[in-house]
Symmetry: D2
Subunit: 141 residues, 4 copies
């Protein structure tokens, strides 16, 4: 069983800067699109999940290495993998490819906070169960 999730995005006109390449913060949007589709593939949307559990899932860390420029109309594959699932955070590893070429790679760390006051709380059990099948066997410790 693969523990990776891949989605496709197409570079839009508004994503490209005057150097003719994707303006770098948009890569983080592309990863968010993949993450939203990943949750949706498990059942609920991430918003339904948040609201049913009384949480938000903000990013506490984001990093990306930009290996090659991406251009208007490029068809990119964004792949997510859970690098670590702990009691408090999920670490996603991602890469962005154009066919065989590596375009970007990095990670996101997501925490769980109360919807009411944005105070950190442990990841709800239901969320951990949903993500468990995609996590490394030992949680990635």
């Amino acid at each position: 069983m693969t523990r990776r999730f891949t989605t496709e995005v197409t570079v839009q006109w508004g994503d490209v800067d005057l150097a003719g390449v994707v303006y770098f913060p948009h890569f983080f949007r592309y990863v968010d699109i993949a993450e939203a589709e990943f949750y949706h593939s498990l059942g609920p949307t991430v918003l339904e999940l948040e609201e049913s559990l009384g949480i938000r899932l903000p990013r506490v860390e984001a990093t990306c290495r930009f290996l090659k420029p991406a251009r208007f109309c490029d068809r990119l594959s964004v792949t997510l993998e859970i690098g670590r699932l702990s009691t408090k955070t999920v670490r996603y590893l991602f890469d962005v490819r154009r066919g065989d070429e590596a375009i970007a790679e990095g990670h996101l760390v997501i925490a769980s906070v109360s919807i009411a006051d944005f105070k950190a709380i442990p990841l709800p059990q239901k969320l951990r169960e949903l993500l468990q099948p995609y996590a490394p066997p030992d949680g990635g410790a």
Copy 2:
């Protein structure tokens, strides 16, 4: 007494497309920046206003004519004026200038909806009173 409100914005790298000019939807963001500062100049932020009145103020119409391109690092003046203040909507006229040159001009129509269900409701009296000094004497009818 002037009934116009002006603010300044600087064109950012991420606002410019591969043609080297501001990507047109960003002009609507510039107008929103002016509108947010306009409300703030009257006292509350637009968010405080919405939340204290139990409303949201979505746009129901937006139009813009783009007269000249704007470029990276351009310093633009965005001017707002209330064209019409009725019981249900506010119509803002706006223009964007770079020094003496007209860059863009248009209007926004804003309605009032209940925060709970996004159903249209009349503009709250408090909001009308706040905007009244900026409205044409006859409401713009």
Copy 3:
């Protein structure tokens, strides 16, 4: 033969504002996605077209009426139709739907400018021929 072109977009997390609905300038991005795919369906990308013809195709007018809010994960259909094809401009009519519901509608007017100096020039013959099959029989005059 239908003269309409439709594409689908999904509302992303980053498109939604704190009122929980699509922030209105993003609707213009959605229309741009449809326009880019429309050109691509005819052969070249809009960028290849621009660069082979030595032109840019800036918007000179954009208008939209927002009929209902769209929300995170909504699947929207964006439909384009050429309302008028003249010697100098193309007028696209668009609407955005969620299933049977009308969400937004408006138009864009696109002109042709020289890539070198952004001065207005007539639409190149090759572009007019490409668009002709989608234009009203009388050009929409």
Copy 4:
């Protein structure tokens, strides 16, 4: 002499997501605003610099830790500092503060590529001289 450069940004309506906090990729735009103003404070705009030197200055790495949420209308200070200036890259360290509170912090690594083909080239001497007064005495090695 301080080697730090600070600018102020205000959180706009369109920067905030449905959780009511700044959508994280926008922090990278805030850092770009600071970087553009930093170059401009040295004389040329970054675009003039790029075009006079025949280069682009893409990011090859970006990282950010998000410490506290930022909200609509927050006034944020973005501070840049050169952590390392080598023959091929500039490493900027940044932090984002709201008054005394640390909101976010991270770094960007910027490389120099030929404007013609996006191939990596050493940082032009003129750019290194411009940045030198802000670099650590030993280049940050």
